[in-house]
Amino acid sequence: MRDGDLTEPDRIVPVVPIVPPAAEAREGRIRRGLARAVRWWHARPGTFRFIARAALLMGAFYLLLYYPYRDGSLPQRLLFRYLGLLAAVSGGVLSLFDSSVNVQGVFILGRQPLHIVLDCAALDALALFAATVLAFPARWRVRLTGFVAGGSVIWAFNVLRIVLLYVAGVKWPQLFDVLHEDVMALLLVLVSVGCFAVWAVRSRISAPPLAAHAPARI
């Protein structure tokens, strides 16, 4: 028998899966493309990566919160319950000063009736804060602590905003719309940005020196 004859009985032929050359080439191209994308991503400055991550998270949160859900769907019911909770807490605070206040669902009734809708819920400020904190390169425990603490501050400020709007509606009605449209919405965003800035600085101050740990890479 000649050397290399495939009919030789004791020759071991490795079993190679048959992959069509076109599919193999396509797979290789995808793998190389992914590797290039990962290399490109890690070569970007840290600031760029942070902004890109935060923007993606912000988009995802907004889609989740502001999507026009069908009436009676689970997300819509959850959002409605959240608005009801906000109305109940704000109404509870207001009833400490004004006994005429009572809450029915998402309505605060009293001398200045208020209807709590999605735009009143500070969801944009909360989404901004959550996106920036979660995108920030810190340990997960630090991020979660910051998220809970800052989220509570923003939530409390929003309750204060609703209380102040009620008081303005009762005492200074001419100021109500300016406060509602401009001032309070701007303050809420500034509180959100401020919470993030304070948290980021604190997480930097309390972080151990660079050599002691390798920060998480997302």
Partner: protein
């Protein structure tokens, strides 16, 4: 990077100046509101006439109007300008009040104030303003166009009257959240300031000498994940 006490104090002073400028210039004054609205409608707003909606049948224009301090019936904002809608074959010209102070003036003020107090050289600030101001104005015009397009697509009617679901989603995500008008310019200012700070530090010989010898000053220094790209021994910001 660890922040020193002096850096924190300087940053706090900048934030205080920023808040002061926004508080003073953003205080609601009817004459400032009227003047800005007139200037905006005559310049940026004038381009709205060139845009058509509903396959060319719908048009809109924005005109300055006397500022109101309380909402008019059927509107959900106080207004300092009015958008007039017209549809070919329809004699009616409905008018819609818009709040340009909220939609354009305050966003511009936030951007300009943030850049003004940033630790940048005058040239860097000028570049940031030259890039940022047109973006904010274009975004405010895009918001107006989006609103008009949304109304023409059935946005003010019952939910099933809406003919363009994508536009509806965009309006709900971008125009409805009240904070977006302020988040956008603040984020834009942050991005522009970070960009100019980085490029100023790269061109500064004091900074370039601190870069590792393997990294040429013209290329971005390799940053450690989780850390800003500045060297560990950060000198005080200019």
């Amino acid at each position: 990077m660890r922040l020193r006490g002096s850096e924190l104090r300087r940053a706090a002073a900048r934030v205080a100046v920023f808040l002061l400028v926004v508080g003073v210039a953003g205080w609601p004054r009817p004459n400032v509101r009227r003047g800005f609205s007139a200037a905006y409608c005559a310049t940026v707003g004038a381009t709205l006439r060139a845009v058509s909606f509903r396959d060319g049948a719908g048009h809109a224009r924005v005109e300055a109007a006397a500022p109101t301090t309380a909402r008019r019936a059927g509107e959900n904002v106080t207004s300092d300008a009015e958008v007039e809608l017209s549809l070919a074959g329809n004699p009616g010209r409905p008018r819609l009040g818009v709040n340009l102070r909220r939609d354009a003036y305050l966003p511009l003020l936030l951007l300009i104030s943030a850049i003004a107090v940033a630790p940048l050289r005058a040239r860097g600030k000028a570049i940031c303003l030259a890039v940022g101001v047109p973006i904010v104005l274009a975004a405010s015009l895009a918001a107006l166009m989006g609103l008009v397009g949304w109304i023409f697509a059935g946005g003010l009617g019952p939910p099933d009257a809406m003919t363009n679901k994508t536009l509806d989603l965009m309006v709900r995500m971008l125009l409805e959240p009240p904070g977006n008008r302020f988040i956008g310019p603040l984020v834009l200012a942050g991005v522009l300031i970070a960009w100019r700070l980085r490029s100023e530090r790269r061109s500064d010989p004091q900074w370039s000498s601190l870069l590792p010898s393997s990294v040429p000053p013209s290329t971005p220094p390799e940053s450690t994940p989780g850390e800003p790209s500045a060297p560990a021994s950060t000198p005080p910001s200019p």
